[in-house]
Symmetry: C2
DNA sequence: GAGAGAAATGTAAAGCTTTTCATTGCATAT
DNA sequence: ATATGCAATGAAAAGCTTTACATTTCTCTC
C-alpha cells in the first residue's frame, strides 16, 4: 500500500497525549476529560485518521464480517435474501462478505477458510451443505464449529440454527390450489436431482395428489434444473409422451416461465388449455404474460431473520438450536384457472 | 471467538522448529530443507492450523480483498457483472466484498472506510460516483486516492481507469434499427433524471433521429426510473398525450417489459402496432412474450475486464489511466418489426 | 581434516491496535 | 496539612505474523 499510513501514534503526537487516550476517545469517550477529548478529536480530523481495522481485529479477535455462502449471486432469488441480510447486518455494524460458490466445493472451502483464518466471525449458508470434510472437521478444524446459520435448506443430521420455509407445505398448497380449481391431471417439473428443495417440493406435490385420491403418474414428472430452458424441455417432454395434462406445477418460477414459453409455442393457451404454477415469486413473476401464479417466499424477511439469529449467536455466544420456519403464501395470478369444461 | 486458536507457535513447538521456519514452509517451501518441511507439514496437518489472515495482513499491508460498490445487488444486471469480477478475482487470489450502497452516500462512505481502514486493497465502483467528500479527500483522506476502477458509468472530471460501454453509441444503434425498419414516430422512455446512463442513451436516441432527419418531439419522451412499473406509466402517458408512436425505445429492459405490459393492456400488439426495444439484455429478455429486441451488454466480460485492471493496478502499483470501452451488440428478437403499412 | 562458502534455521523487530495495570493529579475530608 | 479516593492519563504487553539479520549447520575443496 505504501501510503505513509496515518496511525494512532500520529494522532497522539499531534494531540500531545498517549495512544491509549486516543483509543479511549474513540472507544469510550465518556471516560476521557472533555478538554483532551476535544484536542484528540481535532487531531483526528486534522490527520484524517481512521483506525486500522486489521490491527483492531487482531487485538479483539472480532472482524465484524460475516461470510454468506451463496451458490449463485446471479440468481435474483438469492440477491433479495442478501438484501435482507445486509439490512440487519449493517444495522448491527456488521459487513457481509458474499461468497459465490458456484456449488464448487473448493470455493466453499476457500470461504470457510475465511472464518477459520479469522477474517470473518461467522457464516451464513445459503447453499444447502456445510463445508465439512471427512473428519467431521470444518476444513481441517478440530471439533468446535464456527458460528453458522443454515438458510433455506434443511441439512439433515446437523443441529445448527436454521431459517427455512416449509417447502413441502408450500408445494402441497400450490398443488391443492390446482386441484381445487378442478384439475385432475397435474404435471410437475422438478429441480436438480440431489437438491433438497427438489425432494421437499416433490413430496408436497405427491401428498396433495394422494389426499385428493389422484394417482401419481411418473410420466407426468419431468426433470429440470431450475433454469428457463429446462422448463421448456420439461413441458415438451411431457407433451410428447402422452395425453396432455391440464396443469403444471413447476419447482421454481424460471422453469414455470420456460413452461409457458413452450406451451405457447405449441399453440396452447395459458391458463385456457394448461394452467401453470411456479414457486418463489421472483421479480418478473408478476410482469410476464400471463402473470404467474406462484408461491411467494418473503425473501427479504428470510435474510433478516437469519442475520438476526447470527447476531444473537455472536453476542450471546450460545448456540440457539432453533429452527425458524417462515410462512409462505400462494399468490393467485393469471397463469392458473379452472380446466376447460369437458 | 474464544477458540483456543491454534497459532504458528503451536505448530512450531510440535514440529520442533522456530516460527520463522513454519512461516517459510508455508510461504517459500523451496528454501527449507525437505526433512523439516515434512515435519512442519505434518504438524500443520495435525494441529489443523491456518494462518491468521489478520495478522498477516497487518504485517504485509495487503488484504487481498477488493470492495465492489454496487447500487443494488438485487438487480440482476449487476449480479452478472459481479460474476465476472468474482471469476478474475478468485483466479488471482483475491476475494470480493460486495458493498450494497442502495445509492445512499452514508453507505458508500462506510465502504470507502473499508479501504481506508486497510480492510481492503482497492475498490471497484459500479455506482457512478466516487465517495469523495468536499475537500476532495476520500472520506477524510488527504490527497492520494486508493486503487479504484470505475465501471459502467463515466465519472466526469476524474481520471481513473474506467471500463464502460458506449451508451450513446448503443442507443444510437438501437434507435437506428427502428428507423431502418421504417419507423418515423419513435418514443423514448428515459432512466432516472440525474443518471449519466440516462443522458448518454437519450443523446444517442436524439442523434439517430437527427441523422435521419426526424424532428425530436419532447412529447414522445417520458420519464422513468428503470423499473417495470415506470415503463408501464411511461407508455400510458405517451399514449394519453397524443397520436400513437409506432415504436418505443426504452432506456433499459425492465422498462421495456413494463411498456409491453401496458401496450397489451390497451389491446395493442407488439410488434404489430408498436415495436419495443430495450437495453441491457437481462436474463428474462429472451424469454418474455414477445422476446425483447435489445442491446446486449457483455456483463460478465465487463466485470472481468475491470477486475483485471484492478489486479494490474495493484501489482504494478502504477495507475494505468486508461479507458476500456466494451463492445455492445443489437440483439434483434421478436419485439421489433416494421410499422404497419399505411 | 580444516576452512570457506552456501544452505538452513533461529532471533527479534515491526506492523497497529486495545487494554490491563500503574501512575499522576486533583479534590475532598479529616 | 495530610490522608484518602477518584478521575484521568500513561506505559507496556499482547495479539500473530512476516522478514531482515544473525547464527548455526552442512558440504565441498584443498
Amino acid at each position: 500500500m505504501a501510503n505513509g499510513a496515518i496511525t494512532i501514534e500520529d494522532v497522539a503526537r499531534l494531540a500531545g497525549v498517549s495512544i491509549a487516550t486516543v483509543s479511549r476517545t474513540l472507544h469510550r469517550p465518556d471516560i476521557v476529560s472533555e478538554k483532551t477529548r476535544k484536542r484528540v478529536e481535532q487531531a483526528i480530523e486534522a490527520t484524517g485518521y481512521t483506525t486500522n481495522a486489521m490491527a483492531r481485529s487482531l487485538r479483539t479477535m472480532q472482524t465484524h464480517v460475516i461470510v454468506v455462502l451463496v451458490p449463485n449471486i446471479g440468481n435474483p432469488f438469492f440477491s433479495e435474501i442478501l438484501l435482507g441480510i445486509e439490512a440487519v447486518a449493517s444495522a448491527h455494524g456488521f459487513n457481509i462478505l458474499i461468497g459465490n460458490t458456484d456449488n464448487k466445493p473448493e470455493r466453499e472451502k476457500s470461504f470457510a477458510a475465511y472464518v477459520r483464518g479469522h477474517q470473518a466471525d461467522g457464516m451464513l449458508l445459503l447453499n444447502g451443505h456445510v463445508p465439512l470434510d471427512n473428519g467431521g472437521r470444518l476444513q481441517g478444524r478440530p471439533a468446535a464449529l464456527p458460528p453458522m446459520v443454515i438458510m433455506c435448506e434443511r441439512i439433515p443430521g446437523l443441529s445448527l440454527p436454521t431459517v427455512r420455509i416449509d417447502n413441502e407445505g408450500a408445494a402441497h398448497l400450490a398443488t391443492r390450489h390446482l386441484i381445487e380449481l378442478g384439475h385432475r391431471s397435474i404435471a410437475h417439473i422438478k429441480g436438480p436431482e440431489e437438491n433438497i428443495l427438489t425432494k421437499d417440493r416433490l413430496a408436497g406435490y405427491r401428498r396433495a395428489l394422494e389426499e385428493a385420491g389422484i394417482p401419481f403418474e411418473a410420466r407426468l414428472v419431468a426433470p429440470g434444473d431450475f433454469s428457463i430452458p429446462s422448463g421448456q424441455r420439461g413441458v415438451e417432454r411431457i407433451l410428447d409422451e402422452g395425453p396432455r395434462p391440464t396443469a403444471v406445477f413447476c419447482s421454481n418460477d424460471e422453469m414455470a416461465m420456460g413452461a409457458i414459453v413452450a406451451l405457447k409455442q405449441r399453440g396452447l393457451s395459458v391458463p385456457g388449455d394448461v394452467s401453470v404454477v411456479g414457486f418463489d415469486d421472483i421479480q418478473f413473476a408478476g410482469s410476464c404474460d400471463p402473470p404467474l401464479t406462484t408461491i411467494h417466499q418473503p425473501r427479504r424477511h428470510i435474510g433478516e431473520t437469519a442475520m438476526a439469529l447470527m447476531v444473537e449467536l455472536l453476542e450471546s455466544g450460545s448456540v440457539p438450536e432453533r429452527e425458524v420456519v417462515i410462512e409462505t403464501e400462494l399468490l393467485q395470478r393469471g397463469s392458473s384457472g379452472p380446466p376447460r369444461g369437458p
